[in-house]
């Protein structure tokens, strides 16, 4: 059994310790926010926050979450209010298909909490490894800047 906090609730998982966290979150806990994109840490679609750090849950074993606080996209707006980053993504309509949005939003949340005054260059670099195929990249950058000004 691996015990951890998931979106503010204590949970325990009987899915094997070596199973990627992503599969446990999606299958055992029925989350939809973290998504499968590559399974090899290259695209960011599966990003969740583990103790505030954005991690790629497809290459993180479940055991690594033991005793940690895991927050997924669902957990960002748990109280019914959107996180400033989610709101900014809506305000900028920063997606087309939205499949990359989980990774973009989660990574941006981490980036802005670690470095609230991030420069344009730091924001660009900070989003490295989160891929978008639809060409929403420019809007994503605008959304992060907007969120930055709100936070």
């Amino acid at each position: 059994m691996v015990e951890f906090q998931l979106n503010g609730k204590a949970v325990s998982s009987g899915t094997g310790e070596d199973v990627p966290l992503l599969f446990a979150l999606r299958e055992e806990f029925s989350l939809n926010g973290p998504k499968f994109g590559c399974g090899s840490g290259q695209c960011g679609a599966c990003t969740v926050l583990v103790d505030g750090q954005a991690v790629q849950s497809c290459v993180t074993p479940l055991s690594a979450a033991a005793g940690s606080e895991v927050v997924s996209l669902e957990g960002l707006s748990a109280g019914g209010t959107l996180h400033a980053v989610q709101q900014a993504f809506l305000d900028e309509q920063a997606a087309q298909c939205g499949y990359c949005s989980n990774g973009m939003i989660m990574r941006a949340v981490e980036l802005l909490s670690a470095n609230p005054a991030a420069s344009d260059a730091e924001i660009r670099d900070g989003m490295d490894g989160v891929l978008c195929r639809c060409g929403a990249q420019a809007r994503v950058l605008k959304a992060i800047k907007r969120a930055q000004s709100q936070l």
Binding site: Q42, Q93, Q96
Partner: protein, 746 residues
Amino acid sequence: MTHSKETTLSRRSVLKGIAGLTAFFALPVSVRPVAAQTKLPFIVSRYPTVDAWIRIDPEGIVHVFSGKAELGQGIQTAITQIVAEELDLPVELVRMVDPDTGVSPEEFYTAGSTSIETSGMALRHASAEIRDYLVGMAAEKAGVEKSGIRAENGELTASNGVRTTYWSLVEGQEINFDITGEVAPKAPSEFQLVGKPQPRIDLPAKFTGEASYISDIRLPGMVHGRVVRPPAPVFSLTSVASGSVEAMEGVISVVRNGSFLGVVAEREDQAVAAAEALAEAAEWDIPKIEPSMEDLPEQIKSLPSTEEVFVNEGDVSPAGGQRFEAAYFRPFHAHAAVSPSCALAQFEGETLTVWSHTQGVFPARRDMANALSMPEENVRVIHAHGAGCFGHNGADDVAMDAALLARATGRPVRVMWSRQDELAHSPFGSAMRIEISAELGADAKLRSYDHTVWSGVHGARPGFQFYMQEKEGSGFMPIWSTGDGVEAYAPRDIPPMFGGGAERNGEPIYDIPNRKLTKYLLSKMPLRVSAMRGLGAYANHFAMESFIDEVAFGIDADPVEFRLRHLSDPRYRAVVERAAEAANWTGRSTRKGYGRGFSFGRYKNRSGIFAIVVDVNVDLDSGEVAIPKVAAAVDVGQVINPDGVINQIEGGIIQSLSWTMMEEVAYDGAGITSTDWSSYPILSVAQAPEVDIRLIDRPDMPPVGAGEASQGPTASALANAIFDATGARVRDMPLRPEKILAAMQA
């Protein structure tokens, strides 16, 4: 008009429409009736009654049925705006139903940027006529003229104060009269919603992790399947020792049918692990892939082909003026969706239900039923959202994988491809070679333009064979390798009535008197090819608009002014001028290492009109290209959702920059080698330019799609900018640093 007393909304008219479609399939393309004679879109003749399109739920919701699928392009939002506008409703009370062969009108594929022109316009008329009908009922009830009724939020208020609602009027009624085209939809000047930015209705759920995608569907009793294949277009399984895989934890069964090899397990992680083990245990025979990647740009011309001349006006042979010639190349490109393709399939007795992010639920159903030797009515295909697909990717194939595994195991099976599957097994956008020659007249304008393209097909989707009179074979790759004896159908290219395939946009829209367009359609490509965003238009535009820049440079003309010399249509001139203005165009750059490129085009020569200026900084030592800014102008006729159009155009620009600058499917004799994001890199967030798009609204013009308008011109604008910055003309995509350096030294 019929006004029956039945209380349930029957599917009679929907079924009538489907029966009509059999005739549609059976007609050869050339004699199919054309919709041009009527202002109603052609599809209305197949689905003539309003309830095929719109059903009003007395609970206070309007359900909208369309065969057009949400692919991330925002079609559901735009169509919702159109319907809400005509019914005077807020968008919140209008719900689009995802395409479903069980309930939706059959509308071909969601492709070619035509959804607004067809489905959108059918729904505009259906909505206007329903509103008129309900207003008529309200007027009768109140004893006033129709003009004495005001509609708002579903409430109908008569001039004498009598009130009713859509919802109470439809209670117990079946609203299923024929769409006549006699009720005029609103004039653009009356629009409240259309033409105003509307936030996408599907994004809030997608930004908060609500179940939105096909991969979020969980069926009761569902199990997980994976299929194992080598990364090659043609293969056969010679042996597999699957005993140890069958013994793995959670494995329900290993399925082998000819060279189709799959595994089904209780949990997804178990299916992934079992598929990896199965891949280790399998031996394949793979015929050598030829010609090689290195030889393809030259050898593509000697592959077996059929020649077709599409345009031959005047005489393009030399007439003594200054002549120009150049050849261009596009490699294979991958659709490379951020989500690998996913599908679910469930057999219940004799019936099969498939959930798929296919672009055509009806064609997929027909092909699947045929391939599985099932009656078509026993197969239902339901669309669910996927990641942006940009053409025929693995969406359909994975649905067949799921169906085959469900058939073999009797369980509801979900299959999600791996990243490697997605990059190796989805069909690719075809490699293409283009040769252009042209001649300048004494007036310093082009007097002739001769464009020749060598390419594989741009349309091999499941079900397309039935529209093309081919009755044999299937478009679903997984079935080809089974022992079921179903082969790939022989694809033809997309016919001109749909905008053409490889030759799309090979004819200039410039005023050039002598013009020729020839296509060599290659019947056997080294890799599997099919539809990818823009089809042939992307590479034809790249070639043509690079070429125009070369000619302008050759005679020392400004690229914008040179194009305007050949443009008399005021809409075209407006777009060119607007883009130049947005970019503060002042001519070519005078600073080495910094460049500006211009390009212009009209998608399919009849759809979105687009012009763009791309700015680049090129590192003269490394050849690395940075794109700080692009500015563009677009005219797509009447604009339904301005932000939706801008989002589509912007996405197309950024994606095209990625294709053009860095993308190329890599392969060797044994298979595809670009099977992850490090070997098939795409443009990162950090590399994205600032984008400035100016929309020219033409409320009185018919609306056309925006999805593919920016793809081709952006590619050439990038090449032209790199040339401007460096003097290096790279005609062979992708425009990678080493090619730029080599061209600089040449």
